[in-house]
């Protein structure tokens, strides 16, 4: 994690805005929304025969931010997110939600906590026997809210998620995206302070995924609602999460601001998860050699972000090198709202050319990575 962006973390989202649903008092104090302290989950006996799903996780989820936990299937992310609302108990360590130790709560206390935490699911988990309206009303019924108050609450909620006209539809009459919108309305019904998202977009097509992510982002911004999501898709994290933690084999291997982790991944798992985003084209990958032979060209990835994203550096590089620069691959993306460009170029591996290039990178602050050599 670089320090250049520190200080911005959380601040963008944490400002209380006084809009309905936000709680300025809660937003203002400084306890993180969720803190994992050496939290671990072990199934079965200690030693042989047992299975550790989550191993001693330390992680904080900032108030008002969207935090993503990314990992492959079986990495332990499902267990991790369920520790937050006590659906999974910890076998050692602690999980604090708003300063409260989840493991120390009794059944009643746990139910009270769960009514302050909304959750949405990969397969929506809507009741097939209830309409969209009645599904969204379920948490309120469970909390013992009277019918009149339920009607006053659920109507506007369905409008918020864009399903005002589908109140009377059963889940089987709705598309996947619409079902997830009902799921979101249901999760928001009790005005939770935290929303847990369990692979909420994994069963949806890319376009629907984007619209659901937009909705979550808007809810986060408008109501200051803290969101903790798990996913195996980097795209999801990149689109909405301001913070990310990478989980592998039950351990958090890397965490920080999404932009920093994305632009400067430290751990192998992170790189693999990113691979699809920063991948070299196949023809190029098979041609790369680790050591140069005579007449080879050096293959370099130039990474643009922050200040360098807005400068005409490629043109200057060509002028500076006095040698031809070949552009082989590249993409410009937006990561949690910031521009990020990656350009793969090749130029002569002659020592003086390389020296001029390196001097240029040092002067401009451009981040580079030598990928290998090509003919």
């Amino acid at each position: 994690m670089t320090s250049q962006h520190a200080g911005r973390a959380g601040a963008t989202y944490a400002a209380p805005d006084g809009k309905p649903g936000s709680d300025p008092v809660a937003v203002a104090h400084s306890v993180p929304m969720v803190t994992f302290q050496g939290a671990a989950k072990r199934y079965g006996p200690v030693g042989e025969g047992g299975f550790t799903a989550v191993e001693s996780v330390d992680l904080t989820v900032e108030r008002g931010a969207i935090t993503g936990i990314i990992g492959r299937s079986g990495a332990g992310k499902s267990t991790l997110i369920r520790m937050v609302n006590g659906l999974e108990s910890v076998t050692s360590g602690k999980v604090l939600v708003d300063g409260v130790d989840v493991g120390a709560l009794g059944e009643d206390g746990l139910r009270g906590l769960r009514r302050q935490i909304g959750m949405i699911f990969q397969h929506f988990n809507l009741l097939s026997s209830r309409t969209a309206f009645d599904n969204a009303a379920l948490p309120l019924e469970i909390a013992g809210v009277d019918k009149k108050a339920i009607r006053a609450k659920v109507g506007p909620l369905l409008d918020l998620v864009g399903l005002g006209d589908k109140a009377g539809s059963y889940p089987s009459e709705l598309s996947g995206g619409q079902k997830q919108r009902v799921g979101i309305a249901r999760a928001l019904a009790t005005d939770p302070k935290l929303l847990l998202s369990d692979e909420a977009t994994s069963a949806l097509d890319p376009e629907t995924t984007q619209s659901i992510l937009e909705l979550l982002k808007r809810i986060n911004a408008d109501f200051g609602l803290t969101v903790l999501l798990i996913t195996h898709e980097m795209e999801v994290v990149k689109t909405i999460a301001s913070h990310v933690a990478v989980i592998d084999a039950g351990r958090i291997v890397e965490s920080g601001r999404t932009f920093d982790v994305y632009t400067n991944p430290q751990h192998e798992t992170t790189r693999t998860l990113l691979a699809s985003a920063l991948k070299l084209p196949n023809w190029l990958r098979s041609a790369v050699r680790p050591q140069p032979s005579a007449g080879d060209r050096v293959l370099v990835r130039l990474v643009f972000f922050g200040d360098t994203a807005f400068q005409p550096l490629t043109g200057r590089l060509v002028a500076e090198l006095g040698s031809d620069v070949n552009i082989l691959a590249g993409a410009i993306e937006e990561i949690s709202g910031e521009p990020f460009g990656s350009l793969v170029v090749s130029y002569s591996a002659e020592p003086d050319v390389v020296a001029r290039a390196n001097r240029f990178y040092a002067e401009t602050g451009l981040t580079t990575e030598v990928l290998g050599y090509v003919a």
């Binding site: 746990l110 889940p171 009459e173």
Partner: protein, 222 residues
């Protein structure tokens, strides 16, 4: 036999059958439903964990279900006498019919409840629902179409069982068929009894299917 006589016998027997099936069906289901819910929710790590009681109840249910009905009828005569004051007649027949219905329906309810997507239970727990709220607001409504099908199946089986209670003077269509149709060799009566039974089963099945469909929102399309 005159047609009037046949009609008189048939209608009396139909009434007895309906009386037995309805009373045993209703009482048996009312008792069987909570037992079925308990069987489906009291396993290890489930909503009301009581694995020992669950296993014991499962054994009792299996024992009751594997006892041949005609033996059950005779075996529980003391109980029948205690409850109805007699061991013969239609009311006396209702007791073994009810006893047989309870485990039958309970098992069907258990499987109907177990079919409900576990994700819904998890979602309800995440909302802060109590175990009994999960039963009333999630499991029973979601299992309703399957439970209605189970009820239909139970009633159809009861119509079959009720034919055997002629042994304790329970009367009914089956008894009429055996005594007048078979033992007195009256094929017309036999055919008529069978025809009425077929119509009865058909009506029950259609009504049950219709009701189940009405409550089944799982595959509705616009």
């Amino acid at each position: 036999m005159s047609p009037d006589m046949i009609f008189g016998l048939l209608s009396k027997a139909l009434m007895q059958t309906l009386q037995m099936v309805l009373v045993a069906g209703i009482v048996g289901s009312i008792i069987g439903l909570p037992i079925g819910v308990f069987l489906a929710t009291s396993g290890k790590g489930e909503l009301f964990p009581a694995p020992k009681t669950n296993r014991l109840l499962g054994l009792v249910v299996n024992a009751a279900r594997s006892t041949p009905f005609i033996i059950l009828v005779v075996a529980i005569v003391p109980l029948t006498r205690l409850l109805t004051g007699t061991s013969i007649g239609t009311w006396a027949a209702i007791v073994p019919l009810t006893i047989a219905t309870i485990p039958f329906f309970a098992r069907l309810v258990e499987s109907a409840i177990r079919e409900v997507d576990k994700g819904l239970i998890e979602a309800a727990r995440a909302m802060g629902a109590t175990p009994s709220q999960i039963v009333y607001k999630v499991l029973l409504p979601e299992a309703r179409p399957s439970i209605l099908m189970a009820l239909t199946m139970t009633i159809v089986s009861l119509i079959g069982y009720s034919a055997m209670v002629g042994a304790v003077g329970g009367g009914g269509l089956g008894d009429l068929g055996i005594r007048f149709g078979y033992q007195r060799f009256n094929p017309e009566m036999m055919v008529l009894v069978v025809a009425v039974l077929i119509v009865l089963v058909q009506v029950v099945q259609s009504a049950g299917d219709g009701l189940a469909r009405r409550f089944d929102k799982r595959n509705r399309k616009n």
